[in-house]
């Protein structure tokens, strides 16, 4: 079985290759080859396909592809490679379930299948979007934890410490990361869900040294939380990322390691077909290079930094079916909307994204609203809405999801290039009570009613909330 030490050894001794050579002559070139060989074709009229053989072809293409291209280590300029047996063995031994959280808030993350009635895991919150101050951070996380369908929390990113902008690799980052976890845990206590897992630990930590410092138990991180480790686009890593994995595993937090991977549609992946294959290959990299227990793919549009266009919905659906049909890997799709909070467009985007992902067999992280880039432009309404749509989608046939998505797409697709900004937290919610304004609630209610008319049933059962 491949160990982390094997990975490091291969990073030091693998085939040398210039980075540009890897991008263009190894990665892009081989990707085009496998897409052609397996005759994988994007169909713009079917954002949520029901073709099992397409999903299996994408899976097998990704297997061939990853065996050929491996992972590029940017620190050594060498390729870390694995053979097919190593990938298949790891696919068999990777965790098929993981428990996150503690006490009454502990839940088990399990794999799903396309059209499965198994409730999707709802990893709810900010998607790492920035907030301007600690007060808003606390209010938001408390609100996220109060969402009934939330299984785990993704916190916002603090951008300053005592008014000084955080810089990665500096003491500011370490101090910011510690504040991030201390505040998040306090917010969960205030919401009455102290055991709820934080699975993006931590949005403020870019470097290994910041994460490692914040792992001290006094600050509140737990072995039942989740720990995101990024894949550098496309299929690359470096020693700082491997250091995070090494530290987490050495200190007993290894079960929570997640590989987060955002392949770029339009970048080295090329079109939707190559992006789908790369997203699946990212799972193989995750289980081998990062020894990850769970996966957070978020394929995104290179020009719009979101994933609600028809191409990205197709990529989401196809990768989800490829992984869920052929493995027991624990995979959660992260969605980014183009539009900002409390806009109808944002709600339509979320609905289309959650329908595509959940009907195709994966769970969700929601949501990076408005590309998760505008400070304070995030409210609790969007993640709550996402979790409700996700649960309303369980058991839904892909064909039916496809029809609903096709009704939703024309409502927003022409505006993706120039989307509405929406409102800030402090414009939506009462800063004292945390309650959303009537106007914002009306937007949420209106779109939810439209979805009911399209056949979605919004009801929460005991099974949904655990």
């Amino acid at each position: 079985m491949v160990t982390l030490l094997d990975v490091v050894e291969r990073a030091l001794t693998g085939k040398p290759c210039l980075e540009r050579e890897y991008d263009l002559r190894v990665f892009s070139s081989k990707l085009r080859e496998v897409v052609k060989e397996y005759d994988i074709k994007y169909d713009p009229d079917t954002p949520v396909p029901s073709d099992d053989s397409l999903a299996d072809d994408v899976f097998n293409a990704a297997l061939d592809f990853y065996c050929e291209v491996g992972t590029y280590c940017t620190d050594t300029g060498r390729i870390i490679k694995f053979d097919e047996n190593e990938i298949k063995e790891r696919l068999k031994t990777a965790p098929s379930q993981l428990v996150f959280g503690e006490g009454a808030d502990a839940r088990t993350l399990v794999p799903r299948k396309p059209e499965s009635k198994t409730p999707p895991w709802c990893f709810i919150g900010a998607g790492g979007a920035p907030v301007s101050c600690e007060e808003i951070f606390l209010k938001l996380v408390e609100s996220y934890a109060s969402i009934p369908l939330a299984n785990s929390i993704t916190t916002p990113a603090l951008t300053s410490v005592r008014g000084i902008r955080i810089r990665p690799g500096t003491p500011l980052e370490i101090l910011g990361t510690i504040r991030n976890i201390v505040l998040a845990r306090e917010a969960l206590r205030r919401a009455g869900r102290p055991g709820l897992p934080i699975m993006n630990a931590l949005a403020t930590a870019t470097t290994a040294v910041a994460l490692n410092t914040a792992l001290h138990p006094d600050y509140g991180l737990r072995k039942t939380d989740g720990y995101l480790t990024g894949v550098i686009a496309e299929l690359k890593t470096n020693f700082d990322l491997l250091n995070k994995v090494c530290a987490l595993r050495s200190l007993g937090y290894g079960g929570g390691v997640c590989a987060e991977n955002g392949p770029l549609f339009g970048g080295y992946c090329g079109g939707p077909e190559g992006t789908a294959v790369t997203t699946v290959a990212g799972h193989f990299m995750g289980i081998l290079v990062y020894q990850a227990g769970w996966h957070l793919p978020f394929p995104v549009h290179i020009n719009y930094a979101s994933n609600s266009t028809p191409e990205l919905l197709w990529v989401t659906s196809v990768f989800a079916q490829a992984i869920s049909r052929n493995t027991h890997l624990l995979s959660l799709h992260l969605n980014y909307t183009a539009a900002g909070p409390c806009t109808e467009m944002c709600m339509y985007e979320i609905a289309a994204q959650r329908l595509a992902a959940v009907s195709s067999g994966v769970s969700i992280e929601s949501v990076g609203v408005g590309k998760a880039k505008h400070e304070d432009y995030l409210t609790p309404l969007e993640p709550m809405f996402a979790s409700e749509v996700a649960h309303a989608t369980k058991g839904m046939r892909r064909e039916d999801a496809n029809e609903i998505v096709k009704v939703l797409l024309p409502k927003y697709v022409d505006k993706v290039a120039d989307p509405p900004l929406g409102v800030k937290y402090q414009e939506c919610c009462d800063i004292k009570t945390g309650k959303p304004s009537k106007r914002c609630l009306e937007v949420y209610t209106k779109v939810k009613e439209e979805l009911k008319d399209l056949g979605l049933e919004f009801s929460i059962s005991q099974e949904d909330t655990g």
């Binding site: 991008d23 263009l24 892009s28 940017t74 790492g128 979007a129 920035p130 990113a157 951008t159 902008r165 955080i166 810089r167 990665p168 690799g169 500096t170 980052e173 949005a203 403020t204 870019t206 470097t207 550098i232 686009a233 470096n238 770029l264 549609f265 339009g266 970048g267 080295y268 992946c269 090329g270 079109g271 290179i302 020009n303 930094a305 590309k371 880039k373 505008h374 400070e375």
Partner: protein
């Protein structure tokens, strides 16, 4: 005949056919045709087409990078043959991803399109300390320092470069542009950048406009 050659130049660049671009550019020089006209009617037109195609994702990043290489090969042959008084110089850019940020795909697209549009680009790569960016800009007498940052946790590095320039009394010497996933127009204004662009095509337009404005004052 010149029109035919310019058309071949355009088509070869768009197809990313470096060999043909070199052959045609050499033919332009051998036949004593106007190299500036060959750039304007051949290479520059193809740069515009490439930008438009990439915006619509009719072509993808690998196609763009290969085309930019072909464009550069053509420029390398044609530029030395332009008389000094007609010098074709869109501007010199020093670009890098700021300290602490290791993401480079967005920056690479901007580099490719700037080069395709005739800018002389010095790409320093990722995780670049403030002082190195400024040192290079001084060394090559850059018009523009362009700063990329993907994450909200790393955009502070863009502010650091601007603050440093101010503190050493050199802010007016360079145009500073910012871009990347986490940056916004509001952020650019807050830190005192001269220009911001959300996409690579916009970055080329903003860079061209800012250099023209500076040269006309």
């Amino acid at each position: 005949m010149s029109e035919e050659l310019f058309k071949r130049l355009r088509e070869a660049v768009i197809a990313g056919n470096e060999k043909t671009v070199i052959e045609v550019a050499k033919e332009v020089v051998e036949k004593r045709l106007d190299p500036l006209e060959a750039i304007e009617k051949g290479l520059s037109v193809s740069a515009t087409v490439l930008g438009e195609k990439f915006d619509k994702l009719e072509i993808f990043l690998p196609d763009l990078l290969v085309a930019a290489d072909a464009m550069k090969a053509g420029l390398d042959i044609l530029l030395p043959n332009i008389p000094k008084e007609k010098a074709f110089e869109k501007g010199t850019v020093v670009i890098g991803t700021v300290k602490g940020d290791i993401h480079d795909i967005g920056k690479n697209i901007v580099v490719a399109l700037l080069r395709a549009n005739g800018f002389n680009v010095h790409d320093l790569g990722i995780d670049i300390p403030t002082s190195k960016l400024i040192e290079k800009a001084e060394e090559v007498r850059a018009d523009i320092i362009a700063l990329s940052a993907l994450m909200s946790s790393t955009i502070g590095g863009q502010k650091d470069v601007i603050d440093y320039l101010k503190d050493v009394g050199k802010r007016e010497k360079f145009i500073v542009m910012v871009g990347g996933g986490a940056t916004t127009q509001e952020w650019a204004e807050e830190i005192g950048a001269d220009g911001y662009a959300e996409t690579a095509s916009e970055a080329v337009m903003v860079a061209s406009r800012l250099v023209e404005r500076r040269r006309s004052t």
